[in-house]
């Protein structure tokens, strides 16, 4: 997590899925690795009306977010766009809240939850403000397995609208998209980090659905991608990357 403060950037993965993973590494384990490497993982469970999701699906979506230090939400496909924007914003806030809380503990020996409620107001204002100003790198990990086939066009549009919404932030924001199942290692990079709507839209056009649900391997691929990006940019990522290497 120290890397985040040093690089002045929030790294997050948003997993959009409508079912349980069925191949590769456990997604909960993958999310834990991501979190240890300074990346927050949040999840969105798309409610499937036709094959009603069973409890194990819901459990997994929640467990991934818990292990990834992020948040979890459920939505009908029609409302995916708003949910994905809201969750991205809330995840960034949560990440900053965790950092601020840790820093408070170092400075005054207390976490934010142990401060008298009214004295939290100024800290919350700071978190809000900082959340809008800090740079953001977000990878959307999109489940394109067979069951998402009919919903893919809405999912694609939701990702484009997410970037449009993030462009209103004061800090810089860029999005990458990984779809799973993909050709290699269970997932494919559909679009590398970009802040251009047209590029994102163009790359998403090529996206097709079908196959199994390897959620875990896709999360790991997103982690690798975030760290490769930092290596190229020459940012000091040693600490987070070591944590990642330790697991991979």
């Amino acid at each position: 997590m120290t890397t985040l403060i040093e690089s002045g950037e929030i790294k997050q993965i948003i997993v959009v899925t409508d079912g349980r993973s069925n191949t590769g590494i456990s997604p909960v384990e993958a999310a834990k690795r991501a979190f240890d490497a300074g990346i927050t993982v949040s999840t969105i469970g798309v409610i499937n009306i036709r094959n009603s999701s069973d409890e194990k699906d819901i459990e997994e979506v929640e467990e991934i977010a818990k292990a990834g230090g992020g948040l979890c939400d459920y939505t009908h496909i029609e409302d995916l766009s708003r949910t994905i924007q809201n969750l991205t914003h809330k995840t960034a806030q949560r990440t900053i809240e965790q950092i601020v809380s840790r820093q408070l503990k170092v400075i005054i020996g207390e976490e934010i939850e142990n401060l008298e409620p009214k004295s939290r107001l100024k800290i919350v204002d700071f978190i809000e403000n900082y959340g809008e100003n800090i740079n953001l790198k977000c990878i959307v990990v999109l489940d394109t397995s067979g069951s998402m086939r009919d919903r893919l066009s809405i999912a694609k549009r939701s990702v484009v609208e997410l970037l449009e919404s993030l462009q209103g932030r004061k800090g810089s924001s860029s999005i990458a998209v990984i779809a799973y199942p993909g050709e290699e290692a269970g997932s494919s990079i559909i679009c590398g980090f970009t802040n251009e709507i047209d590029t994102l839209r163009q790359k998403l056009e090529a996206l097709r659905s079908g196959g199994g649900t390897p959620t875990g391997p896709a999360i790991l691929k997103a982690c690798e991608m975030l760290y490769q990006y930092y290596e190229v940019c020459g940012t000091d990522i040693s600490e987070g990357f070591e944590a990642l290497q330790h697991y991979v």
Partner: protein
């Protein structure tokens, strides 16, 4: 579900206890319950696990505190249940019904609808004057306060400083969803949401940006034979020439007066026609007698 019926909640900081009576609703960041304190007085309690959102909404209520159209807010506190910490604030319980309920239960006239939207515009103008935009305007967030007979706003979680990015919204009222402008909390974003509320009330149904285009919606409204001034005002709000709640409030006033004057003229004409018909009948009877 954070709290079950008759459960007792004890504030970690204030030490006060509240008894949960029933759930009043759920919003994006938490749930709202009707509670009573030790003296039997009723309050509304908003509770959730997201510290930032609950604290922020409490802060917004405090900032807008002196205004009579937002619920009065009391304490901000935490409680623990099953080893999980929940955050909550206590506010005034507004006895009444939402605009959504009012529309489904009562038959509102054209004049009633204009009056309601005019009050909403005035309330939102005051919020705008304080430097904020209320981005999540919707039927469900507008309450008719039965006891005091006034219109109140609930769920202040969406209060955003003017010029910032809109984070909480409902697609039907959101300018960006209709491809009519950016999702930025500016004064015309507020005006757009209000006019969509009015159009939806006049058409007696929700409108859906996923399924319809704005031009088609305005066309449908045009076929309803409302006063011409109304269409000019709606178009003015949609194209941005009526760009703040103050101007909208004034225009709504003009439309109200015109429609009232129009109705008065109709009454007078009807009376004259009735009188002339009577006179004609009497004349015919006299001639043929």
């Amino acid at each position: 579900m954070y709290s079950s019926k008759y459960e007792s909640i004890r504030g970690r900081w204030s030490g006060k206890t509240y008894t949960v009576l029933r759930k009043l609703g759920a919003g994006g960041i938490g749930e709202i319950y009707l509670v009573t304190d030790d003296n039997g007085e009723s309050f509304a309690m908003k509770t959730g696990r997201d510290l930032v959102s609950i604290t922020k909404e409490y802060g917004s209520l405090v900032k807008l505190g002196p205004m009579c159209f937002t619920p009065k807010v009391y304490e901000l506190d935490d409680y623990e249940k099953n080893n999980k910490v929940y955050h909550f604030f206590i506010m005034e319980y507004i006895e009444g019904y939402t605009l959504r309920d009012a529309l489904s239960k009562e038959k509102l006239t054209f004049g009633n609808k204009l009056d309601i939207v005019r009050i909403v515009a005035k309330v939102l103008k005051e919020i705008n004057d304080q430097g904020y935009v209320y981005t999540d305007l919707k039927y469900e967030n507008i309450m008719v306060d039965k006891r005091n007979g006034i219109i109140r706003l609930i769920d202040l979680g969406s209060i955003t400083p003017i010029g910032e990015r809109v984070k909480e919204y409902t697609p039907m009222y959101d300018r960006s969803n209709w491809n009519a402008g950016s999702r930025t909390a500016d004064l015309s974003y507020q005006v757009f949401a209000i006019i969509i509320l009015l159009v939806s009330m006049l058409l007696n149904k929700d409108i859906n940006p996923e399924k319809e285009q704005l031009e088609r919606v305005v066309d449908r409204l045009r076929r309803c034979s409302f006063p011409k001034d109304l269409y000019d005002m709606v178009n003015g709000c949609l194209d941005g020439s009526i760009a703040d709640c103050g101007s909208l409030y004034d225009r709504l006033g003009t439309v109200c007066r015109c429609s009232f004057a129009g109705r008065r003229l109709t009454y007078v004409l009807n009376a004259v026609i009735a009188f002339l018909s009577m006179l004609l009948a009497v004349l015919i009877r006299t001639v043929f007698a």
